[in-house]
Amino acid sequence: MVHFTAEEKAAITGLWGKVNVEEAGGEALGRLLVVYPWTQRFFDSFGNLSSPSAIMGNPKVKAHGKKVLTSFGDAVKNMDNLKGAFAKLSELHCDKLHVDPENFRLLGNVMVIILASHFGREFTPELQAAWQKLVAAVATALAHKYH
């Protein structure tokens, strides 16, 4: 099981408190769909995904991004038991959504890049390390129930 030090937890929660989850969520999902276009395969029902501006402005992308990032907030609150916290979501992503877990790693990396763009110099190598550790652990937790 992944263990987060007190410093890592403080760094993560400190930054998370300043994140606008609604905006960042839409941005994260939007950037995922633009930078890795094959991820659009899960979102046929989302309407216009024909260009970067269409994707970033798409209201369904923004809404779903907000949903995803809000759920990520649960990770921040449950760093000591990510597998437990994401067990149900893991089953959902495997059995109903059929999402390759590689997509969780891609989204996690995009999230880190967005945090870097929001926080600039404040996003130190140490902060990046803590966050990369968290997004990797969340991706693993989300893949844990796959069968």
Binding site: P52, M56, V112, A116, S117, G120, R121, P125, Q132
Partner: protein, 141 residues
């Protein structure tokens, strides 16, 4: 491989880095080593703890190579052939490490450019750096 618009995005971002290869490169490597400690196994010559002068020097070398790639976007294979040979026969960096370096590169760009780091820039640089990594590992076997 890269459209005209994509090439414009590459040079647009590069123009912001040019002249600052050493500090950018040093930050890139520092992030790589901090976030992914196993990558340090390829850089024992940079010292432990890290020697700042060496870090700047090596960071500059890495970013200058990216600069070469930017100037030869139409023919990466020819322009980077010597570096490809080096990586294949001498350095032999496991290919799985290049995505880690690319992630750190994106974080450096994003943290410096902030709101100016558009989704188009991110997409193009991810594509460009990935193509670079492919060329560097192409002669491995």
């Amino acid at each position: 491989m890269l459209s005209a618009q994509e090439r414009a995005h590459v040079t647009q971002v590069w123009d912001l880095i040019a002249g600052h290869e050493a500090p950018f490169g040093a930050e890139l490597l520092l992030r790589l080593f901090t976030v992914y400690p196993s990558t340090k196994t390829y850089f024992k010559h940079l010292g432990d703890p890290l020697d700042e002068v060496q870090l700047l020097s090596h960071g500059q070398r890495v970013l200058e190579a990216v600069g070469v790639a930017v100037r030869h976007m139409d023919n990466l294979r020819a322009a980077l052939s010597p570096l490809a040979d080096l990586h294949a026969h001498v350095l032999r960096v496991d290919p799985t490490n290049f995505p880690l370096l690319i992630q750190c590169f994106q974080v450096v760009l994003a943290s410096h450019l902030q709101g100016e780091y558009t989704v188009e820039m991110q997409a193009v640089w991810d594509k460009f750096l990935t193509a670079l990594a492919v060329v560097l590992t192409e002669k491995y076997r």
